[in-house]
Symmetry: C2
Subunit: 335 residues, 2 copies
């Protein structure tokens, strides 16, 4: 039995209690101030408001004010906070982190520091703790993980011992875990699949506005997106085969059918301006992580002088330069 | 202007008239005896009964009995006949084929000759004509091609001159064509994506029978399917990158969302036996090309002693050995 503390009582943080509890670990789920209502409900034995399931036996929820108690003696700390909040929230908690054997992060993607330098989130976490960082990628809808439905993910990290310990802690017959040392490929895929899902979402919007199916366009964009994510991964020191697997192609697959990021593309494809579409989604409380990911990815590609990413450049032009969506994306997909 | 004759007035044969007519070619569409009603409707100026569009100006439909007239002087002959009928139908027409500069085949996949030897369809066609064979792959729903909606495909062939001529004849701003010399990779992907779509369809069926989403399972199967198709292509002398592109990942993407082959998997995932599911679909007139493709692929993998295709072996076990679908496919996806 390992003491595990999960930071963030959102969907994925809470969902990961399921495999950990099934393996008999003692799990503490700490909620941020934004999670106050969720934590109160879970402590009262009620179901998570979005997942619809209560905490399994043996798991306890902690409110924001009890971070020290939640983290005391934790051997594995799971970071399940939205990417843009990782720096401030984990920064505040750093003093309580102690000396865990690993930080497991399901927060994904890129962050820019004060100087504007783009970093992957595991590198951000490494500034707060000397524990090895394990990143989680792959197609993983939280509501299915919470219900113990079959899910295959990838754990990535440079420390083979910590990686094996974490895999053993989380893996169940329904939560299958591959491991990789390619944390860069994993993070690039995790972040950029949200960006490319916007492009595929445009096909959904064209369908809606034209009344005509656009399956061929959507399917044509898919392998280009995977190819470009692979090029970006390689340029940053990762591997293309990581992106071709669960972490990239697999996660893009689930994101374009059941994710939020495609909604931005759908609105744009249906005729809204990108600004109006982002405002409408933000007003509805929908976080579109792919929107900043397009910016980060585009900046990295430009800084690196990376060629062979026409779809990323087209996405950037559509979102930020007023380029017409259908023509611009189609031209990029067929160059 | 090139004289083009299309053999088969089914969905794809008829749809390809659209880009050819847009490029100003003289197109003759010949229907098999099974297409008699379609040909009569098109000749009367009516719409194709499934595609919903009439023949463009400059194209003419020919009934089965007028094969000689339809083929006279054809410079490009397009084979758009269901795979299992290619040998008998093209065999009967061989005497009228003349000396075209290329045979373009949208019929896909494998065939077994009298001795049981498995061959890709372009090799079958080569027994009837000395013209270079060009194979067409990639995500391409016929109803979208017929309407001039954006479609990106791959033309593959060993004869670079014939390949370029055919690309020039078909390519339009909405029908984009990549070319490759890897006809083997193209055909393996074209055939096997139908087989793997059955596996992904099982996830749809599990959703239906359990009332629970199975997005994670479907997405986990996707990159495994692409990887296995790549291994099969390489074992047969083709390339994995062909399979990772439009012809494999792209075509699988469209097949699992809008294809027929997933329907077999869906029925099996929902609890029907494979035999009952196949009977029900056949009775409804639905051809499941993936069903024989599983058999062909499995036989090839076995003959070649090919490892690393657990999902294909699992599919075969589910369809032909009574293996339980969910457990068998999940075990294969996570080995």
């Amino acid at each position: 039995m390992t003491q595990v503390t999960i930071l963030g009582a959102g969907d994925m943080g809470t969902a990961l209690v399921t495999p950990l509890a099934r393996n008999g670990h003692a799990v503490r789920l700490w909620g941020t101030p934004r999670d106050a209502e969720i934590v109160a409900t879970l402590r009262a034995g009620g179901p998570h408001p979005r997942l619809g399931v209560p905490l399994p036996v043996g798991a306890r929820a902690f409110p924001a004010g009890e971070a020290a108690a939640a983290l005391a003696g934790a051997k594995i700390v799971v970071v399940a906070i939205t990417s843009d909040a990782v720096r401030p929230v984990v920064g505040d908690l750093a003093v309580h982190l102690g000396d865990p054997l690993a930080l497991v992060t399901v927060a994904k993607g890129f962050d820019a520091d004060e100087t504007g330098r783009v970093r992957i989130l595991p590198d951000v976490l490494a500034t707060f703790s000397s524990a090895p960082v394990i990143a989680v990628g792959g197609p993983s809808k939280a509501n299915e993980v919470a219900r113990g439905l079959p899910t295959a993910v990838v754990f990535g990290g440079a420390d083979a011992g910590a990686l094996a310990r974490c895999r053993d802690a989380f893996a169940t017959p329904d939560y299958a875990i591959e491991t990789t040392a390619d944390i860069v490929g994993l993070e690039v895929a995790a972040a950029m699949k949200n960006a490319y899902a916007i492009a595929l979402g445009v096909a959904d919007g064209l369908e809606r506005s034209s009344g005509q199916p656009h399956h061929n366009l959507r399917a044509a964009l898919f392998p280009r997106a995977v190819t470009e994510m692979g090029r970006l991964a390689v340029a940053l020191g990762g591997r293309a085969d990581t992106v071709a697997g669960l972490a990239g192609a697999g996660d893009l697959q689930v994101t374009i059918t059941a994710g939020r990021n495609r909604l931005l593309g759908e609105r744009i494809g249906a005729g809204e301006t990108p600004d109006a579409a982002i405002r409408a989604l933000s007003a509805a409380g929908t976080t579109i992580e792919g929107y900043p990911a397009v910016g980060f990815g585009h900046r990295l590609a430009t800084d690196l002088g990376l060629g062979g990413v026409p779809l990323l450049r087209a996405l950037h032009a559509v979102l930020h330069e007023g380029a017409p969506p259908r023509e611009t994306l189609w031209a990029a997909a067929t160059t």
